[in-house]
């Protein structure tokens, strides 16, 4: 591509601290206004093993970790051995020559050995700093931002330490200037400085913007980042954050808090969500709005806790016994996670039902640049027909406020939505029951059993979402209206598919377009069917084994795709995986492509 676009890989053992140099680089790039995407491949181990962070930046939207590395910074021998052979022509490998031996490098890969001992007077901890400095130099970035960054990092430790570390960095920077070849391009500086954001932070921030006052969780990778963000900001933002004994407790606490009137949220991963499903059904039955996030990881069971997958779609679709209305949404980018949460809360409040967000490890733990102007916290808050004691819920108290007997919590309305009073409101006393109930809440599972009332209540709940579809944007084709191939994805794969589409056009002369599905329930059956039946060749891209989305799409539309690209090895798609798969499918070689991840991370 004509744009400037480069990627840096930093690898080492868990516990070796690749986060710090990664963070320094990402912030420096973002502050220059560069767009950025970072993905960390790591393992379920606290120390040791292999961790590999890819930071890709460019002067245009960067939507995936990309296909190539321009710089490899191996912090240990293992990383050098795993990755060197996969470096492309023109790339640099920056390493501590005292510690790490390069093997045979592919042609035109430039080895950049740093004599770290000499540059840092033997300070072992400084190797990372030196490598970062050298890298920045080759990218044509001035020294000042690094100096500022190190100053901030070491501030607490006193001026001497700051000075020392800045000195190491300077040495590395200068050494690179003298000894290494700078890149043929310079990392540009754009007008708008950007920030960086992980998906989990975006979810926490989205919750805060939505007015979440109760957040509960049980730690579970890769969702724990949301808990940690919430815990850190709890006091500052006035949010009650609880770590609970288990996920069952989490979802049940949410129901209690939401019933009492709070906006309540939680995040977990598939195994934790499995434990929550009974209580999600309770929220459906009590008609209690709340939001639950499932950050998917590779399953089944414990699976691969630190690896990504889109394997929980059918779990979400089948959560809990019986039929009840709920929303299911799979946001497509980190920013989209942020904006979706308040939107979802508005829908849940309005339709009085639970809402599920499907994120995944790649999105939630991945980092993206973000324009602060896009982080709008001043979002509309619509709480639907709710009755508070102090009348601040927006809905008038329809029964005059002082007649418990006349208030019908589950009134049969044409919309199916019934004004809900929270506990504490005079004149609206009722019981909310998970047993089937009558309009006033009375159980009809025991002596008042009545099949007609039961039927009416099922239908009341069932029709609530009828009006919801109109409030949710229909998915749209991105790319040329007529294309040889339409790539369909859901949730987090939007970015990589977009890049693959561009690559197909630019490098292979293949005209493709893209349909990214975000809202899963309710589903825009008509719009999607229309688009897909018109498409020449539809290929569904998803990060799971069984084609969970393909099957769901068929259940809703009857549409069977022409081909599938699936990956279930724990690693995300890279653009070239999709390009290659599309080519092989267009060539008629297969209708199911399973790209093989080339790098063993």
């Amino acid at each position: 591509m004509a744009n400037i676009d480069f990627a840096i890989g930093i690898g080492g053992e868990a516990g070796q601290g690749i986060a710090t140099p990664g963070n320094i680089l990402a912030r420096i790039f973002a502050r220059r206004g560069l767009h950025l995407n970072a993905y960390n491949a790591y393992q379920s181990i606290i120390r040791g093993g292999h961790t590999f962070l890819t930071i890709r930046a460019g002067d245009h939207p960067v939507r995936s970790m990309g296909d190539r590395l321009d710089v490899l910074i191996p912090l240990n021998q293992d990383t050098m051995d795993r990755h060197l052979g996969r470096m492309d022509a023109g790339s640099r490998v920056v390493f501590d020559v005292d510690k790490i031996k390069p093997g045979a490098a592919p042609a035109e890969v430039r080895l950049c050995p740093l004599p770290v001992k000499q540059l840092t007077a033997g300070d072992k901890l400084a190797a990372n700093t030196v490598a970062v400095a050298a890298t920045l130099q080759m990218l044509g970035i001035e020294f000042e931002p690094l100096e500022a960054s190190l100053t901030k990092q070491f501030e607490r430790k006193g001026e001497a330490v700051v000075k020392q570390n800045v000195g190491f960095a300077r040495a590395g920077y200068d050494y690179a200037a003298t000894n290494f070849h700078a890149f043929p391009f310079r990392a540009p500086k754009l007008a708008t400085p950007l920030g960086i954001l992980t998906g989990n932070e975006a979810l926490g921030m989205g919750g805060a913007a939505a007015g979440v006052k109760f957040y509960a969780a049980y730690p579970m990778s890769p969702s724990t980042g949301v808990l940690m963000w919430m815990a850190r900001h709890a006091r500052q933002l006035g949010i009650m954050v609880r770590q609970v004994e288990d996920e069952i407790g989490v979802m049940n606490m949410l129901v209690g808090a939401a019933h009492a009137g709070c906006r309540a949220m939680c995040a977990t991963s598939g195994g934790g969500f499995a434990l929550m499903t009974e209580a999600v059904g309770m929220a459906g039955m009590l008609e209690t709005p709340l939001v639950c996030i499932d950050v998917q990881r590779a399953g089944p069971a414990t699976g691969v806790p630190t690896k990504t997958e889109q394997g929980d779609l059918w779990q979400a679709l089948g959560a809990g016994q019986g039929d009840y209305p709920r929303f299911i949404v799979a946001p497509t980018t980190q920013l989209d996670l942020f904006t979706t949460v308040p939107e979802l809360f508005n829908l849940c409040d309005r339709f009085q039902c639970p809402g599920l967000v499907l994120s995944d490890l790649m999105l939630s733990e991945g980092t993206a640049s973000v324009d602060p102007a896009d982080l709008n916290f001043n979002v509309p808050i619509e709480r639907g027909e709710i009755i508070f004691p102090n009348g601040n819920g927006g809905a008038a108290n329809p029964f005059g406020g002082a007649n418990d007997r006349a208030y019908l919590r589950y009134r049969l309305t044409p919309s199916g939505i019934s004004p809900r009073a929270v506990p504490g409101v005079p004149g609206h006393i009722h019981v909310a029951a998970t047993d089937e109930h009558d309009e006033d809440g009375t159980l009809i599972s025991d002596e008042f059993t009545n099949p007609h009332k039961r039927q009416a209540m099922v239908e009341k709940r069932g029709r609530k979402l009828a009006a919801a579809l109109a409030l949710i944007p229909a998915p749209r084709l991105v790319g040329p209206e007529t294309a040889q191939v339409t790539l369909v994805g859901w949730g987090s794969t939007e970015g990589v598919i977009r890049e693959a589409v561009e690559k197909l056009a630019a490098e292979e002369g293949i005209v493709a377009n893209q349909l990214a599905i975000k809202w899963l329930v309710p589903f825009h059956t008509e719009a999607v069917t229309r688009l897909l039946t018109r498409a020449q060749r539809v290929i569904i891209v998803e990060n799971n084994y069984s084609g969970q989305f393909a099957r769901y799409l068929r259940s809703e539309t009857g549409f069977a795709a022409h081909g599938h690209i699936r990956k279930y090895d724990g690693e995300p798609f890279m653009p070239h995986h999709l390009v290659h798969a599309v080519k092989e499918q267009l060539a008629g070689a297969t209708a199911l492509s399973v790209p093989r991840h080339e790098i063993l991370v």
Binding site: L197, K213, G238, E245, D246, V255, R263, G424, I429
Partner: protein, 304 residues
Amino acid sequence: MSTVIEEAVVPPAAAAPTKESYKFKVHPDWCPGCGDFSVLNALQTALFELGLAPHQVLVISGIGCSSNLPGFINTYGMHTLHGRALAVATGAKLANHDLTVICTGGDGDGYGIGGNHFLHTMRRNVDLTYIVMDNQIYGLTTGQTSPTSVKGMKTKSTPYGNVENPINPIPLAIVGGATYVARGFSGKQKHLVELLKGAIQHRGFSLVDVFSPCVTYNKDNTYQFFTQRVRLLEEQGHDASDFASAIQRGYEWGEEIPIGLFWKRTDLPALDELEPVLADGGPLAFRPLGVSPAQAAAVIQELL
């Protein structure tokens, strides 16, 4: 289409509650003679005597015969999932700590499937009153063994006799961190009312385990069985601040079975008192939503 059983005139919310204020339009559908009637009545009396307005009280249950109670009392109610009342209640209490939150349920609900929430709600000292109608059987599912069924008991799931040791809720709660631990008996109304009043007034987690006989499925632990055996701790000079004695007396089971207040401590703050987020601003549920521009700016600043 609503199920209004009685046409009762409701006192305006402002008026002081009378005992009738807590009566609900739906008559309990428990078996005639079930111990739970008495617990319901005692709870209504306790609320009345404490002068609590019905709309300020939230009664939360799980699933079981006993868990039907919220449907029979004129307060706000939640009838949740089997075993989950305490978790739901913790959420509700923290969302609106002005509410008086009372949990009611059975031995299976609370000590069986609900055991983990029981354990952790106690150690957190959440300001709830937990009334367990302990009939030593699963009533609603028509008579299977429960965690408090005695060894050897024949039930539908143990037709040859239960081989498991029961749990003893009293010592368990004391060690588990409950700060008010009492046992009542459906056959001792007045005593039960006092225990419940104490529990509701207590700031922290209160357990009132009530012998509430299931006249249909438990033919061993009947009214008669308990009437003969129960002895009031209050009449025996028990010191409820004596930890060792509380545990020891909790284990007594035989010709004499003590009921009353076993254990109480007031030196541990309740969870809501420990959460600075609740310190000012009233119930969370009623606070304005969203974040201020300054707060938003601070959060965004972290990303730069």
